[in-house]
Symmetry: C2
Subunit: 349 residues, 2 copies
DNA sequence: TTTAATTGTGCAAACGTTTGTACATTGATT
DNA sequence: AATCAATGTACAAACGTTTGCACAATTAAA
């Protein structure tokens, strides 16, 4: 049952030529006559030849595999990025290995080790929330393995990166709330050592400044928003309960996480607080769940698939330009505000 | 910047021994003296030696990579299975390549080709909805590459498989509805050429039979439930609207898909129909979204992560027993009914 | 003390490609 | 007719491991 593998040599033997000629013929080398090429192709077909990419990888020193590191694969955000990456690299003959860091520094390190060990041709990663040291990433760079960061990046690493313009997304979201007449907007902020949450906070602040709304530090609630869905929903509930305790309700909540927003909405609804009439909501990330709840959650879409596309593109570019005059750049994707019921104070539309 | 790779030979040179000894020392071969081993390990450490797994793969004829095919990665179901697979194979030094078939026959074929080309040591797959020919899977078997199927399987292929007992899940769900006093239960069924939907239908029928409820073919609505979330939600809405048109409302809906259930719920809620009082709902798959809506969607959890675990385990077993006396088996996982508000007619609890 | 088993290493051939260099043939240019 | 470029192919050395076999040195058994 186990068939003997047919190699390039078998083809050579059949045609009474050398393996090298066969190799070149298969790869369409210009110095091989078309006659020979045709013959080789025919025999290859006949024998059902399958090139051994491992051998090729060994010889060429490249594996045609690229590694992707996601903090967690069960968020639609990352699933979508992955899909975007695959879309473009497959067309170039690359394969993708996906690793999850579970947002842990140690696993992230381990992932990188594993990927380097199997000689990936590049690594596309989003950094784990725990990570504050970046030596493992630097090692990748030093080994000459292309490294592309997406979404959660670190500026000190001088590498290609693609992120969404979270400042703008946040700015749009808050401006929208202001336009709906909100004046007391609470912000569920994420931990500020992570770039995206910093930017979201900045956008929140600037949007209000520009509309003459003074910033009240009391309204900014910083929490670790990176946990399992369930836990972040819980967190949202807790924050909502705290707000209720404090008495003075805000007229809007802009959450840096969809799940925290949904948790808070649950609590408010249970207490009979009208959404959006009394409190309007905007989340962040456009997780699908937001479209199922009632009212639908207004949120910021980050064009995640395109993000994956771009990351892959950056990788391909980097590979092509070799180490030559390659200078890292950061691609900024503009996010889009998705308006649903949760923020429409002025009636529908 | 680009450091020269340090090989087994460099270590050998340093210690004035041969590469073969180093190789054996590294792999802890019994015939190598502990002194030598220690020395080799030290030097390896010192030189920061990274084994070249490609070379090893070439020599040994195995890549330590296993391929997983999922119909689509952006369903929490599959994300979770993948996670389960990884959990176990990583500990054995394997890496995972994930491919998406997008539920298309042609892509599934292409995925398999790609995986075979890079010489994966095994393939773990769930078959695409389009697939009705299985030659590509047979080819895998014939090449001696271990093949494990999960969830969506095909009986004619004689391979290791792990599925959930969909019959039981469905049976539990419908029994639960009957216990809640439902007598006219509509079933949103999936296409019957797919094993899981067949089983769910059978469970639906048997549960009622055993409780003396006659089966009304009118209540069984067969639809293709495998599409993007959005589209299936739409489908659910359509089916709900049709039910409304027909006049006579059922007192429960058991949907083979969470999303279809949620779509239908939306419509009913919009029409002011009380859930679960007038119509109770049970979905299938325990997609996270179901916990966010109101009332929460009662559903069937399939222990997806464990499913991944099992699939991986089957793979490992199969590799170990070699082609010897290995005889394929099917593992059946018992699903669990998750009761939420959408089905509790008898008040809470 | 001879013989046999055990222990520790070395040799060299794989694994299946790719690729630099060399060689022969052909056709074109002087 | 001599020179040169272009064309088509072969040779052989990589790539970094692993592994069967051989062989020496040591230890145990007789």
């Amino acid at each position: 049952m186990k068939k003997k593998k047919v190699t390039i040599r078998d083809i050579a033997k059949e045609l009474d030529i050398t393996a090298s000629t066969v190799s070149r013929a298969l790869r369409n080398h210009p110095r091989i006559s078309t006659a020979t090429k045709q013959a080789v192709w025919d025999v290859a077909e006949k024998l059902n030849y399958q090139p051994n990419s491992i051998a090729a990888a060994l010889r060429k020193g490249k594996s045609n595999i690229i590694g992707a590191i996601v903090p967690t694969s069960d968020r639609s955000f990352f699933a979508s990025v992955i899909r975007g990456i695959e879309e473009v690299i497959r067309t170039e003959g690359y394969n993708l290995i996906i690793c999850q860091s579970d947002d842990q520094y140690s696993k992230e390190q381990a992932n990188i080790e594993a990927l380097l060990k199997i000689q990936v041709d590049g690594i596309i990663a989003s950094v784990a929330k725990e990570t504050i040291k970046f030596d493992h990433f630097r090692k990748v760079k030093e080994l000459g393995v292309p490294l592309i960061l997406y979404d959660r990046v670190n500026e000190s690493l001088d590498v290609n990166a693609v992120v969404t313009n979270d400042y703008l997304g946040s700015y749009k979201a808050v401006t929208h709330l202001i336009e709906q007449g909100c004046k007391r907007i609470v912000h569920f902020a994420g931990k500020q050592h992570i770039n995206i949450y910093q930017d979201r906070l900045k956008g929140y602040i600037d949007a209000q400044r520009e509309h003459g709304i003074p910033i009240d530090q009391e309204l900014i609630i910083e929490e670790d928003l990176i946990y399992s869905m369930k836990r972040v929903v819980e967190l949202g509930r807790d924050m909502a309960n705290n707000l209720l305790q404090m008495g003075k309700l805000p007229d809007a909540i802009f959450s840096a996480s969809d799940f925290a927003a949904m948790g808070a909405m649950q609590v408010f609804k249970e207490k009979g607080i009208k959404i959006p009439e009394q409190v309007a909501f905007v989340g962040y990330s456009n997780d699908v769940s937001g479209s199922f709840i009632e009212p639908g959650l207004t949120t910021v879409d980050q064009h995640t698939k395109r993000m994956g596309n771009m990351a892959a593109q950056l990788f391909l570019e980097q590979v092509k330009t070799k180490t030559k005059d390659f200078t890292p750049r950061k691609t900024l994707l503009n996010p889009e505000l998705i308006v649903r019921g949760s923020s429409l104070k002025n009636g529908c539309d």
